[in-house]
Structure formats: structure tokens, C-alpha cells
């Protein structure tokens, strides 16, 4: 177990290093820079040059790269080029808890409803409940996030004026963003759960349990569920990583001050330190999540041996 963790740790470090290096050079290869002339504001070239010097952008690329790695080792992600006195560390410290809070609620909702829908449609296979759940799931998978969130906002905020449109100041503010975030995952989990459940229900041990006279609800929730849930756990790693780090669309539409939209706007602004800082942060986060999921396998399914 310890050997496995150590091995994983070094593999992760290498992954991070490759990730940072690729991102760094790719990012600099996009034409334009943080201080290229902005729209309709003609700041003199000499001033732009001075700004570049201030941020060390006049140095050759490999020097900038080494400098970045040095600072990174000290935990310093640098200052944003766009918001001139905000550091990337601050940006993450402020934004991540907000994104994570909305994300956690959405994950909870997605798991609860997704698993329930999956079980129901597996048990009632071919009946109307199954059909309803699966139609819902298909819609959930096929409606893009940006359409859904705008529709939600249109119906609940503009038409019926029931819910607020921006910010996160009361419980009401959470409703639409959470629905927007969890809709897709609910659908995915429901389908995954259904097929996994159907497969497990065909297994011999279920037949044995039924033959023993175990009540149906115990067969489902004790015997079948435990085995059917493993694919969901696999999906949980990337899901948690994606949900906690925020969604560009949901955060943009509902004006949530999380970190989900910083990455995309960072690329638009050529805000190098924000792009790199968030890449590092997301990278570490995804690696850690996948690692936790691997450990979880072993706990849920005793047959999985971690040393393998």
C-alpha cells in the first residue's frame, strides 16, 4: 500500500511537470500577449514595453520558464496580468470555495437523483417508469449546458420572476446553478446505473438471494446496489474534479464569483499567470481525485487489490 502511494506520488509529479511545460509553451505560442494593444485604447508602444518589462515578459522564453518553475516551487503562482494587483493565489483562494460549494451540492443532487432514477428504471424495465426516466436521461445528455442554463434563467427569472438571476446571497440563488450543473451528470449517472443494475440483477447471487426468500427491497439495496455502484464510483473521480472547479457556462450565466470562468477568460486575455496557475491547480486536483477513487474501489469491492 505504502509502496503504491509513493509510486503514484512520483508519477503524479512527473505528470504535473509535463503538464506545466506543455501548457507554458503552448500558451506562449498563441499569437498576441497580455499587453498587445487593446481594443480602441491606443496606449503608446513605449508604455506597453515598460509593462512587459515589469512582468518579465521581455526575457527569453526559457528564462521565463525557469523563473516560473522557481516561483512555483515556493508556492507562488504570480500576479494576474489583467487584474493588476491580484495574485493568482488570491484568485484561487477566493474563487475555489465558492465554486466548490455549488459543485458539492450539485454532486449530491446528481448522485441522489441519478442513482434513484437508474434503479427505478432497471427494476421497472420496459414499463412507463423506465421510459420516462430514460427519456429524461436522453434529454439530459443531449441538451447542451449553455442552452439549459439560458432556458432556466428565461423561465424562472424573466417569465415567472421566481428566482434571482445573479450572485449567491441566499438559498434561492443556489437553485438554478445547481440544477444547471447537475442536469447532465444526473442523466449520465441514471443511464450508467440502469445498465449496471440490469447486469447485476441477472447474476446468480441475486437468484440465490431471491431463492433464499430475502425480501425484494433487501435484494436490491443490499445485494445488487453494492455491486452495481462500482461504475458510478469510477465516474465520481472526474465528476468531482469537474464540478468542484466550477463550470464556465453556469458561472458566467448566473454571475457566480467562482474560478470556473477564470480559465477561459484567462486564455482570452492572454493572462499567462492565471492560465498556468489554474492549470497547476486543476491538474493537482484531478490527480488527487483519481487517486482517492482508486482507494475507494478497494474499500467498496474487496476483490480489488491495490498492489496490482
Amino acid at each position: 500500500m505504502v509502496g503504491y502511494i509513493v509510486k503514484r506520488f512520483f508519477a503524479s509529479l512527473l505528470t504535473m511537470f509535463v503538464l506545466i511545460t506543455i501548457t507554458f509553451f503552448l500558451m506562449h505560442s498563441i499569437p498576441g500577449g497580455p499587453f498587445s494593444p487593446a481594443e480602441e485604447r491606443k496606449v503608446p508602444a513605449s508604455v506597453l514595453q515598460k509593462m512587459e518589462e515589469k512582468f518579465g515578459l521581455h526575457e527569453p522564453l526559457h528564462v521565463q520558464y525557469v523563473n516560473y518553475l522557481k516561483n512555483l516551487l515556493q508556492g507562488d503562482l504570480g500576479f494576474s496580468f489583467k487584474q493588476l494587483d491580484v495574485s493568482v493565489n488570491e484568485l484561487i483562494a477566493q474563487g475555489f470555495p465558492i465554486s466548490a460549494k455549488v459543485g458539492l451540492i450539485a454532486i449530491g443532487l446528481a448522485l441522489l437523483i441519478g442513482i434513484l432514477l437508474g434503479i427505478v428504471s432497471a427494476i421497472k424495465r420496459g414499463k412507463w417508469a423506465d421510459w420516462t426516466a430514460m427519456i429524461f436521461a436522453t434529454i439530459g445528455i443531449s441538451i447542451p449546458n449553455f442552452v439549459l442554463t439560458v432556458l432556466l434563467m428565461f423561465f424562472f427569472c424573466v417569465m415567472f420572476k421566481l428566482l434571482p438571476t445573479y450572485g449567491l446571497t441566499s438559498w434561492k440563488h443556489y437553485i438554478l446553478p445547481v440544477i444547471g450543473l447537475s442536469f447532465g451528470p444526473i442523466a449520465y449517472i441514471a443511464r450508467l446505473m440502469r445498465s449496471s443494475m440490469l447486469e447485476v440483477m441477472r447474476q446468480d447471487f441475486i437468484l440465490t438471494a431471491r431463492a433464499k426468500g430475502v425480501p425484494e427491497y433487501r435484494v436490491i439495496f443490499k445485494h445488487a446496489l453494492k455491486n452495481a455502484i462500482i461504475p458510478i464510483v469510477t465516474y465520481l473521480g472526474p465528476l468531482v474534479a469537474a464540478m468542484l472547479t466550477g463550470s464556465f457556462i453556469v458561472e458566467r450565466v448566473f454571475s457566480i464569483p467562482g474560478i470556473g470562468r477564470d480559465f477561459v477568460s484567462g486564455i482570452g486575455d492572454r493572462d499567462y499567470s492565471v492560465i498556468l496557475g489554474l492549470t497547476v491547480f486543476f491538474g493537482v486536483f484531478i490527480i488527487v481525485m483519481n487517486f482517492i477513487v482508486d482507494i475507494l474501489y478497494a474499500i467498496i469491492d474487496k476483490r480489488v487489490k491495490i498492489e496490482e
Binding site: 498587445s36 494593444p37 424573466v158 492572454r270
Partner: protein
Amino acid sequence: MKKRIGHLFVTILTVTSLVACSSGAPSGTETKQESGGETAKVEQKIIYALPKEPEQMDPTLNTYSRSSTVLQNLFRGLYKIDESGKKAVPALAESHEIDATGTKYTFKLKKDVKWSDGKPITAQDFEYSFKRVLNPEVGSGAAFYLYYIKNGLAYNQGKAKAEDVGVKAVDETTLEVTLESPTPFFIELLCVTAYYPVRKDVVEGKDGWTKSPETYITSGPFMLTELKPKEKYVLKKNPNYVEASKVKLDTLEIVFIESSEAELAAYSNGEINVSDSVGKEAMTQFQSTPEFVSVPRIGTYYFDFNASRKPFDDPKVRKAFSMAINREQIVSNILQSVEKPAFGMVPYGIPHATQAGKDFREVVGNQFQENTEEAKKLLADAGYPDGKGIPEIVLIVMADQADKDVAQAMQNMWKENLGVNVTIQTFESKVYWDEIEQGNFSIARDGWTGDYPDPMTNLDLFEGVNTGDDIRWSSAEYDRLLKENREISDQAKRMDNYVKAEKILMDEMAVMPLHFLEDQYLVKPNVKGVLKNYIGHTIFEYAHVE
């Protein structure tokens, strides 16, 4: 089944559009009734949305227009733009005197001008701030605004010392500013945030003074009381502001809503009182209601011709292209806007210096006309009858839907009216200006908003020193007229020179103006006195809630 879904969809659409249309009106009457029947005091609070947090909260470093909007509510300098949004009037200064040469200004500060923490604002604060903007070590992007001051440019480039800069505090309340040359618009220039004061002990006291309300000391109508990154800034009335007795608003909440659709929803839902980012949808929905306001700003949307590349090295071709489009149609049908088509470069909103109450544009009128027949003739004269034999023409625009629509409309008009094929290329904004600098274009979308209400702010773009990396056009006579206008203070002569210069620009059609810029905003009927100044900043100093 398919058919039924289709029906359902149509029904939903009709219902929603009906609701959408009617939602604006009833909410308006409701609020009116409330304010009429209720005599109790209404809360003096306005919620206003900006797309994003301001980039820079230190006025001496700021060059961004969004940041300026926030800073213009927090800070005041020697002069400010008045309630009409058009004229500079004393703010912290009481008066000024100009010497005979027109280069030396002596400002007297008002008595009892104070910072938001109650300490007096002194002439020394102004001296410190002006020099801070120019200090090469500070590296402020706004330094160029202060190049008018004697040795400003030299100090900023490390060729002169701080003591040589033409700004001196004679005593606590007297400030002397010496300029490089007489600058008749210097007083208006003082309304730009780069000329606003910051205090030495505040700026140098603690790292990141702009990041917490406790250390953020201001000189204007409001002060910062709450700062939630990316969420909102809460501003309260500054009791120490020199004109605090006239400020009626207690609270100004600036919230950040990135997408304009979401902002429209928030406005329709009554969550914000003033909305700035008015998209096409908001425009069609509110255009005919009293909630919709459109005011000119001193800017122009225009296109660059690359005068170093065939066929636009020939003024006849440039003129033909400019005369062969229909601006009115582009503005009202494609952009669905209420802005005015442009037949000159100096926008509305810039006063004519000798004809009181009139804009330069109104006095001067149009500098050219659209005329398809004439355009065809010009093109034939240039050697391209019916567009035959014309070299490849590339029109570049930014990846913005409105810009692309305009480009396509013009492409059609040129095809139809001149028989010329134009290729459109789009670029992301970060790369776009590089393309122009490299000269990889025949026609390029461009635009400019000035800083002060004098035609110079819109015309100096086309002086030879500035056109090298965009339109690559220059005219010795044009340069001479503008140079002269920097040195003289006879306003009649100056206006005359501007008319001549603009005529040269439009006769040669160095650039092709499309329309003058206007700022649109939505404001709830019970909110009064919200001001957009000529640069496009939204000012709440004079606002109140009824």
C-alpha cells in the same frame, strides 16, 4: 408526434414573447404608483451592473475605461464633468489662472477639501500624484495623459529628473502647472482619472492599498465600504466630499454580471436598477420605453484603408468605397441601433468653441455624401471600371457578431454597387491589432473614443507620427494644421483649422467613418439623474431614487 411538438414549440414561443413584451411596461407603472402614494422616504440605493470587476483601482495607474467608470464615482480631481455631462467645472479646485503665454496654470484649491478619512487634500498631494504617474519606476500605463506637462515625457523616459517636471505645490492650497505648449483643452483633460490625486502615505503605506476598504482613501462623492472580488463593490456616500451636501444617494452597489443576457434578465427581474450593457435584444425590447436612454459619446466607428497597398493607395478608390455604402441602413437595420451615421470624423458631443450651445458637428455639417453613381465614376477614373481588374481586397474585422454582420452588409453593398468582390477575414481581438500593424489588410474595422471635448482628441490619430502602423497615410498640410492648433489659443482660428483638417481627411478619405458612437443604458423609472458623460462613464454623483 413531430407536428405536435412543433405546435407546442410555437405556442411556447408566442406565449414567451408576449410575456417578454409586456413585462417592461407594467413594472414601470407599478413603481410609479408606489412612489406617488408613498410619502415615506425611499431607500437611496442604486444597484448597477458592470460586466467584470475593474482592472485597476489606483487612478494614477489606470488606462481602462471600465475602471474609469468606478473611479469616476470614487475620486475627484481639480475639475470634473458637470451635470450636463458636457462641460468641465471646478471640483476640488476653486479657480485657475492662466498666464499670458498660455502655458502656466495656477490652481487654487477650495477650502476644506478633504479625503474620505477626514485629512485635508493639499496641493502637495497633487504634485505627488502627477509625478507618480510619470515616474518611470512606477511604470504607469497612464503616463501619456500627462505628457502635456513640461518635461513629463522626458521624465517618463528617464531623460529628466522629477524636479524638472512642471508641477509644483507653492503652498498647501496653490498648485502651479507648467505645460509644454498652450493646451486649450487642459482643463477638460484634468477630468481624466490619471490627473486625480492619491495620497502618499496611503499608496506607499501598505501593499495592495486598493484591496481593502480600510486602506482605500478616496476624494470623490463615494467611498468604498465593501469589496467582494468578482461579486460586488459597495460604495457609500463620502461625508467628507467637498460637495457632499449635494449628493443624494447613500449607497451605490456595483455588481458584476458578465453576460449581457443575464444582465437583461436581472434588469427585467428588478434586481438591478441601471443596466449598461444593452445588447440587440434589450435594445429592441426597450427602445420605445422611457427606460431606454442613448447619449452620444465622443467616439467614431470607422474603417481603416491601407494606403500603402493597391488599390487603396488611390484616394479615388477610397472615396468610391466610402460613397457606395448605405450607412443609414447598416445602423438601423443591421445594428438595429439609434446611433447617427457619420459623414465626418469629429463626433457629436464635442462643442464648437465659438458657437455657444452647438456641437462642432452641427455647425460644420457633413463633409461628404453617399452617391453610388459618383462612386462608380470615381472607380472607373481610377482605372477599374465596374470593378474590373481591381486587386484582391481583404476586409478584416474582429470576431464579434455585430462587426461581422456589418462587414457582410458592406461586402454586399460593394458587390452590388461597384461590382467589387471583397473577402472578409476575422481575427480574435488579441491578434487583430498586430495584423493591422503588420499591414495585412486592405480595409480594417477601427474605432476611437476621445478623452476630452476638443476635436484634437479625434483628429490627432491621423497625424503622420501616428498613422505609420495603421492607415499608412499622411498629409503635410493636415499635420501643419494640427500642430498650429496645439500652439495657438485663438478659438475661432482653431475651429477653422479643424474644419480644414477634417476636410482634407474626408476629401482624401484616409479613413471611412461609419457611425458616431452612442452609449445606451436602461434605467428604472424611479431612478433619476444617472449621467453618462461624453467619454461614456456612468456617474452617480447627481443620482437619486424617487
